[in-house]
Symmetry: C2
Subunit: 307 residues, 2 copies
């Protein structure tokens, strides 16, 4: 029962945090690549990556990492992907594919695209999967299983290169969909970026009240608040970069949200229980849909332990 | 190894949904009461309660349920607690304690209080524990373990009656705290009611977009959105009643939230990454605090399955 031949000979990972290390673990588990070379910004992370055995080789620079690689995945925060592309450009092997995992795609196309040399394929990607933790210890091989990975190849990309990257993501468990970068950014603004912004906001609000103590906020957080704190514990650098680079779509969704919260506020002020009841009934259907397509568990409270 | 004597001889539960049935299961498991008599609004629920063996006796009316009970817990939506109190008042046994589990306490004191006869103790309570499911099948005996139950006895209540109800909640696993009703309502407005309102809002917003399809919202919900859909799947009647009865505190918290979201919106509009980074760093500490005091799990993604 030998595994099928690897899809790529040599995978270069630039940045090995939650996402990069999960790709490394999953690619190894599935035999998706012949070998893995990795690099990260800090000496400490590079050392940890070596200790964890996440790569066959750990090197000091992105330029060195991409030498001879036929697949390069940039797994750094979105804001530095352009600089990384510039650094690696002269060192890319002809015929290689350059990809990334950034949560915003329009800015990736704009920032990385111009640096990619002729003869190298450029297929930006975004696996819609994650946790609130960061760094190479936080990753795991199953992270992408049954989650979606969205590819946003610029027009005119080599279809075989796109298909091969799609096959790579499928091999490590993901479902794959292709989208225009701007549409991706609008979709993720509502399914990810606005929820994070709102969670960050309310957790900040709760922390600043004079009338309710922090100790009370923590003790009685099981009423709903604690769910928001998980999301609002996500990496500040990653999320700063997302809001700065996906500004237009986020502001658009924020505008819609503000209109809707104004309507519900008015219903509360007027004691208009019927409007509230009708709204709360409608939103239940969405939850059912998500559970039905296997994007969340039907277990009460996410299956969170009650002991 | 016989169990200690029950704290109350006869517990009457009026309303046997998620909370009422969890109390029934927990009280039975801990031997906290001698016997349980239960009632619910509909024939269907009363039948189901009998089938599940949640009570020693199931009766048709609240008035019948409270006859001879020394502890009465009203477990209906907040909006009908006043009417229930009026119905049961003439039938309450002298020396009995009347309590409830409503998520709002000021209105409970106002609506139920005036009906409670002389010689009957009145100790409103709110267990800060729940799931997004409703009805007698949704409850479980461990729901209150390590969660807080807040008592809001009106001034001048018999201290022995308050202490005895506190002992009951402790016996079924909860931590107990006493608060003034209005302060309770302010604390829960931020730790529960505002989070629910925001979740209901954003799920509605996502459902109404023309530019992003519902199918896209569902598929890519793992980016954060799906967490909000769990909360926004909670019972519409319960939540309508909460927002109608805790209007002032909710509007107060909404005002604070709106100020804070305006500040973050401005930072996004101006590309002010430093303000965003600083805010996102501060909110992480709250999560740590909640995990440290055991009010949530440190497991990534709430320990939600990745298969
Ligand atoms: N977390 C999620 O839930 C999630 C989900 C989908 C997509 N994404 C995207 O995935 C990417 C990485 O996220 P992550 O959660 O894996 O982050 P992470 O755990 O914080 O890891 C980031 C990695 O990038 C490296 N890095 C940071 N700044 C760099 C720089 N200026 N130059 C070179 N390397 C640098 C870091 O090295 P050091 O450790 O040495 O600093 C680290 O290895 C982001 O673009 C994010 O938008 C994240
Ligand atoms: N769910 C939570 O997470 C949570 C947490 C803490 C506190 N609470 C509070 O607990 C209370 C009950 O919530 P729950 O989640 O247990 O609700 P639930 O599962 O929907 O159960 C409500 C029960 O009340 C009965 N009921 C409804 N309307 C009634 C009426 N007009 N007259 C008499 N009985 C009526 C229902 O009977 P039928 O089945 O026959 O309709 C049912 O037995 C609410 O006040 C809520 O604020 C809830």
């Amino acid at each position: 029962m030998s595994k099928p031949a690897p899809l790529y000979n040599r995978l270069a990972l630039i940045g090995v945090g939650l996402i990069g290390s999960s790709i490394a673990r999953a690619a190894k588990a599935q035999g998706a690549v012949g070998s893995i070379v990795a690099t990260a910004r800090s000496e400490a992370t590079r050392k940890r990556v070596a200790e964890l055995g996440l790569a066959d080789q750990v090197v000091e620079t992105a330029a060195a990492a991409v030498e001879g690689a036929d697949l390069v995945i940039v797994c750094t925060p979105v804001g530095v992907c352009g600089a990384v592309a510039k650094e690696i450009a002269p060192h890319l092997a002809p015929g290689a594919t350059v990809s990334d995992v950034g949560s915003v795609k329009g800015s990736i196309v704009r920032d990385m695209g111009p640096h990619i040399p002729q003869g190298v394929h450029f297929v930006p990607a975004h696996p819609v999967a994650g946790t609130e933790y960061s760094g190479p210890d936080a990753g795991f091989a199953e992270l992408f299983v049954n989650r979606w990975c969205i590819l946003t190849p610029p027009p005119g990309q080599n279809q075989a290169a796109v298909d091969k990257l799609a096959a790579f993501w499928k091999l490590i468990g993901a479902n794959v969909e292709t989208m225009a970068p701007d549409h991706h950014d609008l979709v993720l603004a509502v399914t990810s970026h606005l929820p994070h912004l709102i969670a960050y906001t309310i957790v900040g609000t709760a922390d600043e009240l004079e009338t309710v103590t922090r100790s009370e906020v923590l003790k009685f957080s099981a009423g709903g608040f604690r769910d928001f704190t998980r999301i609002a514990a996500s990496d500040p650098t990653m999320w700063r970069d997302i809001f700065v680079t996906n500004k237009d779509a986020v502001l658009e969704m924020l505008g819609r949200f503000n209109e809707d919260i104004a309507l519900l506020t008015k219903a509360i002020r007027n004691g208009d229980g019927d409007t509230l009841f009708e709204h709360f009934t409608r939103t239940r259907a969405i939850r059912k849909g998500i559970v039905q397509i296997g994007q969340d568990s039907p277990a009460p409270d996410f299956g969170r332990g009650h002991q």
